[in-house]
């Protein structure tokens, strides 16, 4: 049975052997809304929207894991990946109205420590910031939904939040790695069993004169990344797979040695590379 719905701006699909009970579906929807109301920069009523004013804000418990992971990504990418990228994206036009009109003179985000510190669940904002958790937030939410399913004793399922995939239980998922230039083709297949995979590509959301803007922006330069066009990462959690898939736009595989993961990168030059431990095949 496949349960499909739209949430956080994208299509979700949960496959399971049996139909999910009503109360479980409600729990899932409520948990997703709960997350969105905290972390979405596209909502005026969200908690992160408040961070546009300096102050101290108390977040729910789930913030710790997310910020710890973001801090690690920030370190290994030397600041290219940062949750403070929100304002740059807004100025580029990727705002809550999707105005898609870049301003001139778009600033790079402040250094993390200059703008924000946190202790446990309390986040202190020293200067107005626009927090964007796009790099790992959806993956994290997929993990959270997976826990809701497991707590309801659903033993075999696949969650697919449009490019963020979580497999649990029986069988093996054969996941085609979509050619970003041609949706009818796959450049390889990843074999997934009790792991998560995230796919990321820069060419799907493009805007501006000559399509020179897209949503994967290097925080150090304030510009969209050019030399890598698609990445895939496989890890034990979807949060990590999502964050590493983003990081792979900015750093090579060996920079991410702190994590246990498999990866594939498609470069703008047309070459494709993978980690030695990649479980699957590439069609080259």
């Amino acid at each position: 049975m496949i349960y499909q719905f739209e949430a956080i701006g994208t299509l979700w699909s949960i496959e399971s052997v049996s139909v999910l009970p009503h109360d479980l579906k409600d729990k899932i929807q409520n948990r997703i809304t709960e997350f969105d109301v905290v972390y979405s920069r596209f909502r005026e009523d969200s908690l992160v929207a408040k961070l546009r004013q300096p102050g101290v804000y108390t977040f729910p418990n789930d913030v710790k894991k997310l910020l710890n992971f973001y801090e690690a990504l920030y370190q290994v990418t030397d600041g290219a990946v940062t949750p403070l990228i929100g304002e740059t994206l807004e100025h580029a036009g990727y705002d809550s109205e999707y105005s898609l009109q870049p301003k001139s003179g778009i600033a790079t985000p402040p250094a993390w420590r200059d703008a924000m510190t946190w202790n446990d669940v309390n986040v202190e904002v020293k200067q107005p910031i626009v927090l964007d958790v796009g790099a790992a937030g959806k993956g994290y939410l997929v993990d959270i939904v997976a826990e809701v399913l497991k707590n309801h004793t659903i033993t075999d399922f696949v969650i697919d939040a449009s490019g963020d995939i979580y497999h649990y239980g029986q069988g093996v998922e054969r996941v085609g790695l979509e050619n970003p230039y041609d949706e009818g083709k796959v450049v390889g297949v990843a074999k997934l069993k009790n792991k998560s995979l995230c796919a990321s590509s820069s060419n799907r959301r493009k805007w501006g004169d000559g399509d020179d803007w897209h949503h994967i922006v290097n925080a150090k330069t304030g510009k969209p990344v050019q030399d890598v066009v698609a990445t895939w990462a496989v890890a034990d959690s979807t949060m990590v797979a999502d964050g590493l898939a983003t990081a792979l736009f900015f750093v090579p595989f060996h920079a991410l040695a702190d994590w246990d993961f498999e990866g594939v990168r498609l470069l703008a030059s047309g070459t494709i590379e993978k980690t030695d431990n990649f479980v699957g095949e590439l069609f080259i």
Binding site: Q4, T10, L100, R174, D182, S201, T271
Partner: protein, 160 residues
């Protein structure tokens, strides 16, 4: 899950949703109003007894009361018939959410043909989806409908 079926076709889902929503607004589809025991009264409380039962048609167009509606139907694919259950939630006359349940016991034979984008790279082509046994395909996050619409309207304005 081990699954020989082709990737649940995203275009197919989009089409299902559009078809169902069109049918809802035209009042054609037979809906049963979901009875939630113990559900709190909403501030758009519907005091009329819903006249829909499965098998009877709703003659009025565009006057569905707020609440959740569920429809069971069959969707014809080239590969055969597929059962779909759709749940639509209306609030203040607007469709607030749509959820689907699909039983893919039949294979989808229809292939999705993507468009070639400019900048197509010849070096890494890969294989056609139909040549490879897949559970699903992972590309970039499906561009959200809102983003696409925004882009389209901007392009329209630019053309004018």
């Amino acid at each position: 899950m081990e699954n020989d079926a082709k990737q649940p076709n995203k275009v197919l889902i989009g089409i299902i949703i559009v078809v169902v929503l069109a049918a809802v607004t035209a009042g054609i589809v037979f809906f049963t109003r979901e009875q939630d025991a113990g559900a709190p009264a909403s501030d758009t409380a519907n005091t009329n007894t819903p006249s829909n039962t499965s098998g009877s048609s709703n003659e009025s167009t565009g006057s569905y009361k707020d609440g959740s509606y569920q429809a069971n139907g069959n969707y014809q694919t080239p590969g055969g018939s597929e059962k779909v259950t759709v749940k639509v939630t209306l609030a203040k006359g607007i469709i607030e959410s749509v959820e689907l349940e699909r039983d893919p016991t039949t294979r989808e034979a229809e292939e999705y043909q993507g468009k070639f984008e400019s900048g197509y790279k010849a070096q890494v082509v890969g294989k056609n989806i139909d040549e490879v046994r897949l559970s699903r395909v992972a590309g970039s996050s499906l561009t959200s409908g809102g983003f696409n619409q925004a882009l389209e309207s901007i392009k329209e304005e630019a053309r004018a």
